[in-house]
């Protein structure tokens, strides 16, 4: 589904990603872990099409298309979803209206009729139950005055509504207490299926207690330095990032 080959990316002339390779197939859940500043969020931004980042080398194929050739909005309409680490507030725009606009833009792109109010509300009711989100939250301005947990739950709700092929969750666990984390993780698990790929970006192992990944990769200094199965995450939890980063630093110095 997603194939990343030797991606290098800069921001303001500084190289952050230094040759990333990653293949993700439909139905798989991959976790990308790594210390702060390793380039995890940059990878998410580059895939979603944030313009401040300049891709200097490499290629990305998404569903047989050249992802880097697509505009940000077309990537989304093709089925790439990014759950933001810091969801943005838009005053005066109700969450419901925002999501409706998003759903219908996607339908238009795919040559489908827009959903009318009744069909949309029906869909919303169904997905609300899935991620345990409250109706009252959805009539408020998007993310405005939301608590950290509400923002993340709203991100997962949007993911449910937009039914992406590939969902990238950027530190969705950060800033959540244990109850909120459980609710958010449950929502994500319910959205897991054989047609959908999920890329979890996280600093901590604790999210992986709730969402079992098929593969775990460690990102360090702009490169994937180690890949493995979910046991790798446990090992990291136990030994910290040092045992991998030291090894990588040593290799780099040779």
């Amino acid at each position: 589904m997603l194939s990343i080959k030797n991606i290098h990316a800069n921001i303001e002339g500084k190289e952050i990603l230094k040759g990333i390779n990653l293949d993700i197939k439909a139905g798989e859940v991959h976790a990308i872990m790594g210390p702060n500043g390793s380039g995890k969020s940059t990878l998410a931004s580059v895939l979603a099409g944030r313009e401040e980042y300049e891709v200097t080398e490499g290629e990305v194929t998404f569903l047989e298309k050249d992802l880097l050739e697509l505009s940000t909005e077309d990537r989304a309409r093709e089925g790439l979803f990014l759950a933001f680490q810091y969801p943005v507030e838009i005053p005066g725009v109700s969450t419901t209206n925002f999501i409706k606009a998003a759903v219908n833009e996607k339908r238009k792109y795919q040559g489908e009729e827009p959903l009318d109010a009744v069909a949309f509300l029906k869909m919303m009711k169904q997905k609300m139950a899935l991620v345990e989100i409250d109706q009252s939250l959805l009539s408020r301005s998007i993310n405005e005055g939301f608590s950290g947990g509400e923002k993340k739950r709203n991100e997962v709700f949007q993911m449910a509504m937009l039914e992406p092929k590939l969902a990238i969750l950027d530190e969705t666990d950060s800033g959540l207490d244990i109850d909120a984390l459980r609710i958010v993780a449950n929502g994500i698990n319910k959205l897991r299926n054989e047609n959908r790929a999920i890329l979890l970006i996280t600093h901590y192992q604790r999210l992986l207690d709730y969402i079992q990944p098929d593969f775990v990769h460690v990102l360090y200094n702009g490169k994937i330095v180690k890949s493995g199965t979910k046991e790798l995450a446990l090992e990291l939890e136990e030994r910290g990032y040092d045992f991998i980063t030291d090894e990588a630093d040593l290799a780099a110095s040779l």
């Binding site: 979603a48 401040e52 005066g92 925002f98 999501i99 606009a101 833009e105």
Partner: protein, 481 residues
């Protein structure tokens, strides 16, 4: 059957002929302004002598006045001798089909969701007799007459209701008030007149839309609305459809009078030609709008959505004379390209326990300049007067400007005046968030701007609000990177 058909054709023909006759009748007087011109306008309109004298007095005042220079707008000097002050309503050029209409205009119509028949009417394409909106307007008039509401042109009111006009014309905006109100008083050619009798709640929104169909209102419009005790009226001015107009200078005067416990809600959507992308052409809209809360517990509420005109200079105001009276001003002013707007309000608190609320949302794009200018005055006798003002500005891009000029004069110690102002920019983060959800940049900006203006939009009558929203989106086209 055949005869019926003939009748129909005949009617259609008659309508057309009627229009044609008006056209022949169109006589334009020479450019320039002097006493003789004022006399001529009055004569053409068959006005009584008191009206002529009133005009002449205004003209004499105007001669002694100077054009204001304090607004934060720039334009070349206006040559008042180069303007034609009277032309009978011009008949629009008759077209045979929509194919002959400017495709750009049609595209705008489509976005506004205006019906085909309506498109034809607005662009001057010959229409069939079935949809003629004059008949709709007539049935409205009949319905209103039953409950005693007078809704007609000001010219008609001068003829048929001279006592009311004499009593109230110039009572809120004196002819000497300012340069443009003096000019308007001397040369106004038409406008609307509304009278709501005591205790009557006007059952429908009164809209100039129906009135203007029948008569073109011209560049110096004069509107007078009187709401008697315990009456209510909601008045809509303007039309969201793009109006092409050859008159560059518009100097209207609007006066509202609300008696005891009466309420007037006045909503405007202004969408005149703003000039092209390089700032060529466009309308100068220099308007004086003022309401008088004459009676106790009366209320006047102005709501405006301004997207048009090259230059806008207007301050819909309320004089809160009656005790416990309420004044409100809700405004969205959007400027793009080289547009300039200097707009706001004046709330003059005279009575006790009077309250006013100002919510102004300015949106600037392109190289435009958008200023809020507002005065809140609490006079000596305005015990316990309250005002709350909120002025928010939103900038699109970095070549435009937003300015706020709040003036506060408080002469009563018990009065409380609050003012809040914010300026924000549409952030890259907001745009990226929207685009990541599949919403393109242009739609995203429209969404964000409409969210910003929501509090004001909510004040508009439902259907008007939806149209105004679409209008904002259209005005914003091309304002994103």
């Amino acid at each position: 059957m055949n005869e019926d058909l003939n009748m129909l054709e005949q009617t259609a023909l008659n309508d057309y002929k009627y229009g044609f006759v008006t056209d022949i009748d169109t006589d334009i007087i020479p450019k320039g302004l002097n006493e003789a011109v004022v006399e001529l306008i009055s004569k053409k309109k068959n006005e009584p002598e008191w009206m002529l004298n009133w005009r002449l007095k205004a003209y004499a005042h105007w001669l002694k006045m100077e054009e204001p220079t304090w607004p934060n707008v720039k334009y070349p000097p206006i040559n008042y001798q180069d303007i034609i002050y009277y032309a009978a309503p011009k008949k629009k050029e008759q077209l045979n089909s929509l194919d002959e209409v400017d495709p750009e205009l049609l595209r705008t119509f489509e976005k506004l969701g205006i019906s085909l028949n309506e498109q034809k009417r607005l662009t001057g394409v010959a229409v069939d007799v079935v949809m003629d909106s004059v008949s709709i307007a007539t049935s409205f008039k009949e319905q209103l007459a039953e409950i005693g509401v007078i809704f007609c042109s000001i010219s008609e009111a001068i003829q048929k209701h001279p006592d009311l006009v004499k009593k109230y014309l110039g009572s809120v905006v004196p002819m000497t008030d300012n340069y443009f109100s003096a000019l308007n008083s001397a040369v106004f050619t038409d406008g609307s007149f509304c009278y709501i009798p005591k205790g009557v709640r006007c059952p429908m929104e009164l809209s100039t839309y129906f009135r203007i169909n029948a008569e073109n209102s011209g560049q110096f419009e004069r509107t007078l609305i009187i709401a008697e005790e315990e009456s209510y009226v909601s008045y809509l001015e303007g039309c969201t459809a793009p109006m092409r107009d050859e008159n560059q200078l518009h100097a209207a005067v609007v006066e509202l009078v609300a008696m005891k416990k009466a309420e007037i809600k006045y909503s405007t959507v202004q969408n005149w030609y703003p000039g092209d992308k390089d700032g060529q052409g466009g309308i100068y809209n220099f308007v004086t709008k003022r309401g008088m809360c004459q009676g106790d517990h009366s209320k006047i509420s102005w709501t405006q959505v301004e997207t048009g005109s090259a230059i806008t200079w207007k301050y819909p105001s309320v004089i809160l004379k009656g005790d416990h009276s309420i004044g409100e001003f809700y405004s969205v002013a959007f400027t793009n390209h080289h547009q300039q707007a200097d707009t706001g309000t004046k709330m003059i608190h005279l009575g006790k326990n009077t309250r006013s609320r100002i919510v102004s949302k300015g949106i600037s794009a392109g190289q435009s300049q958008n200023s809020y200018r507002g005065l809140v005055r609490a006079a000596k006798g305005a015990t316990n007067a309250r005002n709350y003002s909120q002025c928010d500005s939103l900038l699109l891009g970095d070549k435009c400007g937003a300015h706020t000029f709040p003036y506060i004069e408080v002469k009563n110690k018990t009065a409380i005046v609050e003012h809040e102002a914010t300026t924000s920019k549409i952030g890259e983060d907001q745009l990226f968030y929207c685009r990541q959800r599949g919403i393109d940049a242009e739609t995203a900006v429209a969404l964000i701007v409409n969210g910003f203006a929501k509090e004001v939009m909510n004040q508009l009558p439902m259907e008007f609000a939806i149209e105004a929203q679409k209008l904002l989106a259209i005005s914003m086209e091309g304002s994103v990177g």
